[in-house]
Symmetry: C2
């Protein structure tokens, strides 16, 4: 066997086939071997990794990153928001792209759940108008007076309005002053039904909250900064639909969560398409927790965030359970 002749012929066959677009029998004729051999060489070429989806051109680098992140994290779809590009601000563009992607995920007759947060509201704010009759937009978490102009029910209502869909609000506060009251309210038929109906959603849209002092729950007055600190000590890692989750994405057994009226985390996990949109790169830890907890099947993040996730996944093996 002469020097590299084995690789040589494999590479040449792959070149003629993939770059020149010849048929296998043409390649065979060209190299004076049988077509079956060409098929074999091509299989090897693929195994070796000679043939790849274009990564060389800058054009597709984000797409490749998206695909790799999907594979590494076991997600169905990942959207990457480029950031290096000048005049391209994730905090402005991401909601627009997210809204478009979100609409794409909706099928006729679907029931879609919408949680709450700055990100979700921003998405609602740029949601294109569409005619999705027969679609129902349901509120995933209880209400809460907000220091800014977006309350959970407003998100739901606004999205439903824009999509010309039915809006189904949850007529309950997000947090109650006592566990007992929360428990009782949850048992109320109206509320109970609505919470149960969440399992029927085909699609959910939410972000994940942080547990810093400037977190949404703190700003809205649902939790004091001091309490949040304590919760962080107790293992809280992020917020999903108003509820705290630990580093593994599991429901955190704490006073706040017990006093919460919101979608049961397991109900959310059962929703087939769970679209998680994260704008801020600072939400890395909450995001990791959310992914671990299985709260994302569809994820939209910045390129740098995706790279961090990918790096971590490759190193340790962060897969959703």
């Amino acid at each position: 066997m002469p020097v590299r002749s084995a690789d040589q012929i494999i590479h040449k066959a792959a070149w003629l086939y993939y770059t020149h677009g010849l048929r296998q029998d043409e390649v065979a004729k060209h190299l004076d071997i049988s077509r079956a051999s060409v098929a074999m060489y091509l299989r090897r070429a693929r195994e070796i990794g000679i043939v790849t989806i274009s990564t060389s051109t800058e054009l597709f680098s984000d797409d490749v990153l998206a695909r790799e992140t999907e594979d590494a994290l076991g997600l169905e779809t990942v959207w990457i928001i480029p950031e290096d590009r000048q005049a391209f601000n994730p905090s402005v563009e991401m909601p627009v792209v997210a809204a478009a992607a979100f609409i794409e995920l909706i099928n006729k007759g679907d029931r879609v759940g919408v949680a709450w947060g700055r990100t979700v509201y921003h998405i609602a704010d740029v949601m294109p108008y569409a005619d999705l009759q027969g679609v129902a937009v349901v509120q995933l978490c209880g209400n809460l007076g907000a220091p800014y102009s977006y309350r959970p029910d407003q998100c739901t209502t606004e999205i439903a309005r824009r999509l010309n869909a039915e809006g189904i609000n949850l007529y309950a506060p997000l947090v109650l002053s006592s566990e007992r009251l929360a428990e009782e309210l949850r048992r109320e038929p109206v509320i109970r039904e609505q919470l149960l109906a969440i399992t029927d959603c085909q699609l959910a849209l939410y972000s994940v909250g942080g547990i810093e002092d400037d977190s949404h729950l703190v700003k809205c007055g649902a939790i004091t900064a001091a309490e949040m600190h304590a919760l962080g000590q107790a293992g809280a890692a992020g917020v999903i639909a108003g509820q705290l989750i630990d580093v593994d994405g599991q429901w955190l057994d704490c006073a706040h969560n017990r006093r919460c009226i919101s979608a049961d985390l397991d109900s959310i996990r059962k929703i087939p398409k769970r679209m998680l949109v994260v704008q801020e790169d600072s939400k890395y830890e909450p995001l990791v927790a959310a992914i671990k907890g299985g709260f994302a099947s569809h994820l939209m993040v910045t390129a740098s965030m995706a790279k961090r996730l990918l790096k971590r996944a490759k190193g340790a093996g962060l897969k959703q359970a």
Copy 2:
């Protein structure tokens, strides 16, 4: 049509198909579209150029260069000798690789022509031993006493010996003192037959000579340095099988050529596989002439030479006629 969703689905389909190796119907199921659409997206992906032969990994960069050079110059096979790699000296390695590649080109019962020169001798010197009975190694050009230890007949003989093949020497001088004598000798039946038989060769091996003062013809005393200078002025660009060619690779009408006993250039051009091996990067112009003249179907050069050829071909369009 949402932001980039068109490209998005094309890229994803290509990813699942090419990287994950899913079948088209599996991809279709995954993306919830018809198989026909998958086929369409994949076609577009190929058209756009999403699928490529790996160029990212250093591993194959030389192979890619080889394929590109083949394409640009219309050659059948190009071998690249890497040079950047440390402890890899083209002048040492190339003959070894050339010898191996040369043997690969020989088929049972073939008649192979061998010309003469430092390069060819070096190849002969490292030619592996093989048992190629039924193969004939024929000498392409007349003999010439050499200042070093390699004469044309020695090249032929040595290669034939190593390959255990039949050696057919050309019993004539390369250059005669008069055109008349050369003409008469060419008409001699023995010589004539042998020269005609060159057309029957399936394979030829040679290098291309330069026209500098240190060129082989000058060193061997066939041409004086002064004559060579004049020939250069007259349009000589290189030497093939002892004969001068112009910049277009055409036979140069000059005294030397007319006094030469060697393979007719057209006979050489008719040989299906013409393996041209060039070690020195300084032979760029002669090489270009040789390629233009159609003297190469198989070419072995250094990476830097290939790059120069490629650059030129891309710019101007240097294709063999």
